[in-house]
């Protein structure tokens, strides 16, 4: 039963993606219009609306970018690199 459920998820990528978009939109709306009592640590959190949304997107791009650049700079090698 669980296996079939996972299989369905695997087959219907579009629905899963749609669900994710709706969830993200919901969180964003909730953050922007319904949260007023948060205790921010920093000036940025207090004054930039939906700060952590922007932060997350930038963080993902930065980390993936670093990993790609770093890998391309010669860190990624063939698997038999150490076998002589």
């Amino acid at each position: 039963m669980i296996a079939e459920f996972f299989e369905k998820i695997n087959r219907n990528g579009l629905i899963v993606r749609l669900f994710c978009y709706i969830f993200a939109a919901g969180v964003l709306v909730y953050t922007l219009f319904f949260v007023h009592h948060a205790h921010p640590h920093t000036w940025l959190e207090a004054n930039v609306p939906a700060f952590w949304t922007i932060f997350t997107l930038i963080a993902c791009v930065v980390l993936v970018g670093i990993a790609r650049l770093y890998g391309a700079a010669g860190i990624k090698r063939k698997e038999d690199y150490y076998d002589i």
């Binding site: 669980i2 296996a3 079939e4 996972f6 299989e7 998820i9 695997n10 993606r17 994710c20 978009y21 969830f23 993200a24 919901g26 969180v27 964003l28 909730y30 953050t31 949260v35 009592h37 948060a38 205790h39 921010p40 640590h41 920093t42 939906a50 952590w52 949304t53 932060f55 997350t56 997107l57 963080a59 993902c60 791009v61 930065v62 980390l63 993936v64 670093i66 990993a67 790609r68 770093y70 890998g71 010669g74 860190i75 990624k76 090698r77 063939k78 698997e79 690199y81 150490y82 002589i84």
Partner: protein, 596 residues
């Protein structure tokens, strides 16, 4: 338990480990289930009775403290003993008994290091951990495990020597071996040596390369033990000796980022998880470096939570390796239909490490991040938050997606072999998953054990909303960026390049130029200097062998005979066995020396 009665949990484990090979089938199963339970009860009883126990005078002038129980050692002892139960249940189906023997010695070393109160005892248990865990790597029959084990042993022996050097220098300067908090105001060479030795076990950059190298090559059950004990014991010792050292903040934050970047590129599932250990231990090291009550609480809480969810992840990954025999994402994929239970456990581990609300990471990781903001370390706080985004990206999304969903790269044979693991593995994963939820949902369970009183509550609106945004938008980013982190059939070079490639270059140099110079020199020596010497030596050796020895009693000949027989028994050409035997022998000698 009264204060007079002190039974060291390590002693129980060592006795158990020695009994194991003598038993069979049912008795062995009984021991495997009961001994960790007894150890756990012993640790619980010990923890209620804080103070100094088990003080032994050693060789007249040394005082060894085996049982220092306080709020810091109590929480680490508790989680290690708990993990021993889970790990042993997971390893129940392993036929090779030496896996469990090595694992118990390893746990005994960890518990001993946690409860010890002086550097001599610490060193003894520290080395016990290093050697025992090496055998967990060697128990794996996979190609490359033997070499990885040697590299692991080499690195840890070096670390042990650095540590010992620090202890000795400190003893010379201070005159005692007490394992206490060192002073950041007046540092000496020994401070840095001890710190480096401890940092090596915590896999702090640049001393971290051994971790992904060995953990990805260890046996399936062995890796589950290894992922819990070495680094977290080291975090404990750092918290004990180096709380508040600023350098640890920088190193911790850096290793958190470094680990997650490598995890993003990694193809081998257990190596990916190992890189994430480096990243997560970075939080703890940074927490120890910040050194405030909240930060130390955070480091301990995170170590506690980390042991549970990381072992769960390693158990799930191990279940895949156990079933299919493959560990590369490029040879797996699309397993969701075949191994649904394993997928669920992997997801529970993944969302715990990613700090989802109601899971264990949520209540521990945020303590360290909050502590860094409260100590006005704004940059460190934001960088650690960035890593927490990356952690969800890798462990919560990349790993499950490319392992269980998407395109399948499995061969027909792999597909056929892929089934959910046996009952004992499932049981161990269920316990770990349940504990992840318990820690996340019922705060007092963890918070009441922490070394300082906790005023912190992670379930405040600000934190929950922040986490929800991070979760929702990391998923969104993953949908668009997943093509960029697709696993490829490659390995990633790391600092171990210096001893792996460097060693190969040295070997080439040695077998080339150095060897030829040596040969030439030897030839010259032989022709010029040796001829006379050899002739006279031959005579004297003949004289000694046939005249003197015959006269005395044939000692030389009988020794040679015994030596030959011992060689046949002991040296079967397998250096691991020889090492094992000589270590056992050394341990017996040491014990005899102390007690007789």
């Amino acid at each position: 338990m009264t204060s007079d009665l002190f039974i060291h949990p390590s002693l129980l484990l060592i006795i158990g480990a020695m009994l194991l090979p003598l038993t069979k089938d049912l008795t062995r199963r009984f021991l495997l289930l009961v001994v960790p339970l007894i150890v756990f009860i012993d640790v619980m009883a010990l923890n209620t009775n804080s103070g100094i126990h088990g003080v032994v005078t050693f060789m007249g002038s040394w005082t060894l403290t085996f049982g220092r129980v306080d709020s810091l050692s109590a929480i680490f002892g508790f989680i290690m003993a708990l993990m021993c139960i889970i790990g042993t249940i997971y390893s129940l189906n392993v036929k090779n008994v030496w896996v469990q023997v090595a694992a118990w010695f390893y746990v005994a070393g960890s518990l001993g290091a946690i409860y010890c109160g002086d550097y001599i005892t610490l060193f003894l248990f520290w080395e016990m951990m290093a050697f025992a865990s090496t055998f967990l790597v060697w128990c794996n029959k996979e190609k490359g495990a033997l070499q990885a084990g040697y590299r692991y042993l080499m690195v840890h022996t070096t670390g042990g020597v650095i540590l010992l050097l620090g202890f000795v220098l400190r003893y010379q300067a201070v005159g005692n071996m007490d394992f206490v908090l060192l002073n950041e105001g007046s540092t000496h060479l020994y401070t840095w040596l001890i710190m480096a030795g401890l940092m090596l076990n915590a896999a702090v950059f640049p001393l971290h390369s051994w971790l992904p190298d060995a953990y990805s090559k260890a046996s399936v059950a062995g890796a589950v033990f290894m992922c819990a004990f070495t680094t977290k014991t080291a975090v404990y010792t750092l918290a004990r000796g180096f709380a508040g050292f600023d350098i640890l903040i920088y190193l911790g934050v850096f290793m958190a980022i470094y680990g997650i970047v490598y995890a993003m590129m990694e193809n081998d599932i257990r190596r990916l998880l190992a890189w994430e250990i480096v990243s997560q231990v970075g939080y703890m090291v940074a927490g120890v470096g910040i050194g405030t009550a909240l930060a130390i609480n955070g480091a301990c809480a995170h170590a506690f939570a980390h042991i549970l969810y990381k072992s769960l992840l390693f158990m799930a990954a191990g279940a895949v390796v156990h079933a299919t025999g493959k560990s590369k994402l490029t040879e797996l994929g699309g397993l969701c239909r075949k191994m649904p239970l394993t997928l669920i456990f992997l997801l529970v581990g993944g969302v715990s490490v990613s700090a989802f609300p109601w899971f264990s990471g949520f209540v521990s990781k945020s303590m360290i991040i909050t502590a860094s903001f409260e100590s006005h370390l704004i940059i460190a706080g934001f960088l650690l938050s960035m890593v927490s985004v990356g952690t969800f990206f890798v462990a919560g999304l990349r790993l499950p997606y490319y392992l269980f969903f998407g395109e399948s790269h499995c061969s027909e044979e792999t597909k056929e072999k892929a089934v959910d693991p046996p009952w004992n593995m499932t049981l161990a994963m269920t316990i770990a998953a349940g504990l992840c939820l318990l820690v996340g949902c019922y705060l007092p369970f963890l918070y009441n054990m922490l070394p300082y009183a906790v005023e912190y509550n992670p379930y405040n609106t600000g934190h929950v909303v922040e986490t929800l945004q991070i979760i929702a938008f990391t998923v969104l980013a993953f949908i668009f960026l997943k093509g960029f982190v697709k696993p490829t059939n490659t390995i990633n070079l790391d600092l171990d390049w210096f001893y792996r490639r460097g060693g190969q270059y040295f070997l080439k140099l040695a077998s080339g130029p150095i060897q030829s110079v040596d040969t030439a020199w030897g030839k010259l020596y032989k022709t010029v200097g040796m001829a006379d010497l050899l002739a006279s030596a031959k005579f004297w050796s003949w004289f000694d062998w046939n005249v003197i020895d015959t006269i005395v009693d044939g000692t030389a000949r009988s020794f040679l005979g015994i030596g030959r027989r011992v060689t046949v028994v002991l040296q079967k050409g397998q250096i691991q066995q020889t090492l094992y035997i000589s270590l056992t022998f050394a341990a017996i000698l040491l014990a005899a020396f102390i007690w007789l």
